[in-house]
Amino acid sequence: MHLRFSPAPSSARIAPAHAVVRVLLAASALLFVLVTSAAAQEPPYFVTYSSALEEPGNLEVSFKGTTGTPKNGNTFTGGALEFEYGVKAWWTTEFYLDGQSTRNDSTLLTGFRWENRFRPLMREHWINPVIYVEYENLNQASRSILEVTGHQSQSDYAIPNQFARVEIEREMELKLILSSNFKGWNLSENFITEKEINESEPWEFGYAIGVSRPLSLLASKRNCTFCRENFSAGAEAYGGLGDTNGFGWKQTSQYLGPTVQFNIPKGPTLFFSPQFGLNANSVPVLYRFSVSYEVQQIGNWFKRKR
């Protein structure tokens, strides 16, 4: 059962968390200025993963934001600061710091995630599988919505932070990522399963599907910022599939929306997507945005110059 709360304003601001969020944002801004970056080869998805892994030795720092207004709730902005590192050509590891800010309520850190993605097959095929394993330590105030599983509903996002932050969820999440590249198109499908390990909860399920294509398949000869080759567009759909006690589309949220990506040459990559709730359990519209910078061969920074 999901409790509904009225959006009563809270005066309890969590100052230390606010300061940490500011420091994290300042650190990412500093990276933006200092690093030599390159466009990552990831498709423009927010929830769906493709088979593209981080190149070995590269570090991608990105900030993913999600804002929306649930029915009977306050407008929230969830954020995840990601550090993605290519350990091997077939193994990428990623650490997230998760936080959120809710209007008329508070700003707080909501926990962390650590994920690993492995490519079991060493060559490219029509369908390329990737195994995804993640450990999450998040409280219920998290609003990043990096996946939808089980019976997640917009009423979960209407719970005031002072109540939601008390409930800590430690979960293992497994995904089977399938991805195909054909004539410039990328088609990716994710099957998600999640299990809370600190409470006796059923296995929860979800899915995500994305399709995208760059606006141009050829790189132009001149250096240009707004060339078509620097843009990708596509669409993404995702939602819950219930749990072991009740599998299916009912009593869970579903989203669908267009998505666009802009690779600024020698700069960051920007992503944007309005995603529309497809049923009464979904937030009517989620606006998603992301900025990412890829720092190439970060290990070289720490090597002694000869």
Partner: protein, 150 residues
């Protein structure tokens, strides 16, 4: 049976030496060209539709700078760990189709990622650019970082 402190130290030394030897062999294998034997015949015989085209070479140069230069060097002569792309093997022995296949599949076990998410025409542009550079000895007299050091 109890092992003495000295025996344990010796064992640790031997283990370290074995690990070091494996790492050296691994590094040497990076540039051994064994990937060439894995290329299927239909890829081996493919030709680059953009070969020699100035626009494609320029476009490929941009992509190379963005995705490849950090590992293989801005001049494609290789870096400490990553091989030169201006070696006789890449410039003469391998066909354009071979290089295209390597870009698509990578050599994951040896650190070369797959670039299959770069659209096929753009991958051919990269091949056109790499081939336009020619063997290194024609310009610098050196084939790789190692040879330059000698």
């Amino acid at each position: 049976m109890m092992t003495t402190k000295v025996e344990r130290k010796d064992n640790a030394k031997q283990l370290r030496a074995a690990v070091l030897a494996c790492a050296l062999v691994g590094c040497m294998a990076l540039a051994d060209g064994s990937w060439l034997k894995k290329v299927p015949a239909d890829y081996h015989s493919r030709t680059n539709p953009y070969a020699g085209q100035a626009d494609a070479i320029a476009g490929g140069g941009k992509l190379f700078a963005d995705h490849c230069a950090k590992c293989h060097g801005a001049d494609a002569l290789g870096t400490e760990k990553k091989p030169s792309l201006r070696s006789e093997r890449v410039q003469k022995e391998a066909t354009e189709g071979d290089i295209f296949w390597l870009l698509k599949n990578g050599n994951l076990a040896k650190g070369m990622p797959t670039w299959s998410s770069i659209p096929e025409p753009s991958r051919w542009e990269i091949v056109a650019y790499v081939r336009s550079l020619g063997p290194a000895d024609a310009t610098t007299g050196a084939n790789s970082v190692e040879e330059k050091k000698r």
